[in-house]
């Protein structure tokens, strides 16, 4: 299965970036082989509004089944929900650690956004 993880860096050893819309990168990780692909999110860092929506589109286009991140606001959640991507929020650690946790069923899917909408 492919999972997207919001990441502060470009490797599996990078810390998870708790922000979704304004995450530095997304790592698209194969949960079996740990092969991964890096998707930069820099065009979103300076968006005045709607970063969560744009980030949702990036992740959706990668064909992942799950997003693992720290915080996910209502608009981003709606986007992900609309395309059937499940969301895990409120976790931390390195990208490798969170994917391991996910594989071991130690993470739970969110039923909704875990933070309020915010401009930035």
């Amino acid at each position: 299965m492919k999972a997207a993880v919001s990441s502060s860096g470009k490797t599996l050893e990078s810390e998870l970036d708790p922000r979704f819309g304004r995450a530095s990168y997304f790592l698209i990780v194969d949960t079996e082989t740990f092969d991964f692909e890096v998707k930069p999110n820099d065009q979103n860092m300076n968006l005045p509004q709607g970063a969560g929506i744009q980030a949702g589109k990036i992740v959706a286009d990668c064909g992942v089944e799950v997003l693992i991140t720290g915080n996910c606001g209502p608009k981003a959640y709606n986007v992900l929900d609309a395309v059937g991507i499940k969301v895990v929020t409120g976790t931390n650690g390195t990208v490798r650690e969170v994917v391991e946790k996910f594989k071991n069923n130690a993470l739970q899917y969110s039923q909704g956004p875990n933070v309020e909408g915010h401009w930035v």
């Binding site: 509004q49 709607g50 949702g56 608009k75 709606n78 986007v79 609309a82 395309v83």
Partner: protein
């Protein structure tokens, strides 16, 4: 003519000045408009009757997926991320929409119809003192107040030749500016504190840009330190009146009563403010005519 009561800093007494002026003015000569739609207060003092409420909405896109060809043009033109295409679906985020109608204009399939989002309410009622009050109440959770403020201001019928007293929101950004533009005169209610002076100066800067003439009313003016006086002299703005601080006045306002009903010495001050405003407006009218 429109007199807008403004301040920059909140809580200096804008609403108090606006409603007491309305009461002191000759019966039938004024109307009051409360443009502080985030936190309207004038109605608490005026206690209007026969209130008519109208819901105010703004246009948002409503996409007919049967007609949509998924070309993505709507997403491209939208500056506010309010409409976006994800995995063969068009999603609309109503609270992000500024109602520019760009999406419906570019849609080649005519798939975008007009939906709506509630901004708040527009209310009108009559005071027992013989004037009308019009005000807006922004829906709690709605971020954009200027469109509702514009609706309140649209109710000003300049043709009827009355004095329109407008209560402005605090600050110097869009809500205050939308309210203050096209005022004939701005009545600035200031307090003699460093915060009061700082925010007054910002408002004056804004009014100069807008080209609105102004005068100052000093509220709670017991401090004798003259920081506003010095400023007014420097900027060449007339101080129309000083309303002294008194616990009695604070109590009357706290209860939602009119100062001019209960405190004769303050009533005299308001009569004087009213006359000075009328004089100012007359000279503005004259110079306007002279210029034509």
């Amino acid at each position: 003519m429109i007199v807008t009561v403004a301040s920059g800093k909140g809580g200096t007494g804008k609403t108090t000045v606006a409603v007491n002026l309305a009461v002191i003015a000759p019966e039938g000569s004024v109307e009051v408009f409360d443009c502080d739609v985030e936190e309207p207060n004038a109605h608490l003092f005026i206690k209007p009757e026969n209130i008519v409420t109208k819901e105010i909405s703004t246009m948002i896109p409503d996409v007919d997926m049967n007609l949509c060809t998924l070309c993505g043009e709507c997403e491209k033109i939208c500056r506010f991320s309010a409409i976006t295409m994800i995995a063969k679906k068009i999603m609309v985020f109503p609270e992000m929409c500024h109602s520019c109608k760009g999406c419906s204009m570019v849609c080649p399939a005519g798939a975008i119809k007009e939906g709506s989002r509630v901004l708040g309410s527009l209310l009108t009622g009559q005071s027992s003192r013989g004037f009308n009050l019009t005000w807006g109440e922004l829906r709690v959770g709605e971020a954009m107040s200027p469109p509702l403020i514009k609706q309140v201001k649209n109710k000003i019928d300049k043709g009827i030749g009355k004095l329109f007293i407008v209560d402005a929101p605090p600050g110097t950004s869009c809500p205050a500016v939308v309210t203050l533009r096209d005022a004939d005169f701005a009545l600035l209610v200031a307090e003699e504190t460093p915060f009061g002076l700082n925010d007054l100066a910002l408002t004056v800067e804004g009014l100069k840009k807008l080209g609105v003439p102004m005068g100052i009313v000093l509220n709670r003016a017991d401090m004798e330190n003259g920081i506003i006086d010095d400023y007014a002299v420097r900027e060449n703005i007339e101080i129309l009146q000083r309303i002294p601080f008194s616990r009695e006045a604070a109590k009357v306002c706290a209860k939602g009563h009119f100062l001019v009903d209960e405190l004769p010495e303050i009533k005299a001050l308001f009569q004087d403010i009213y006359l000075k405003i009328i004089n100012n407006l007359n000279s503005i009218q004259k110079s306007d005519k002279g210029g034509q």
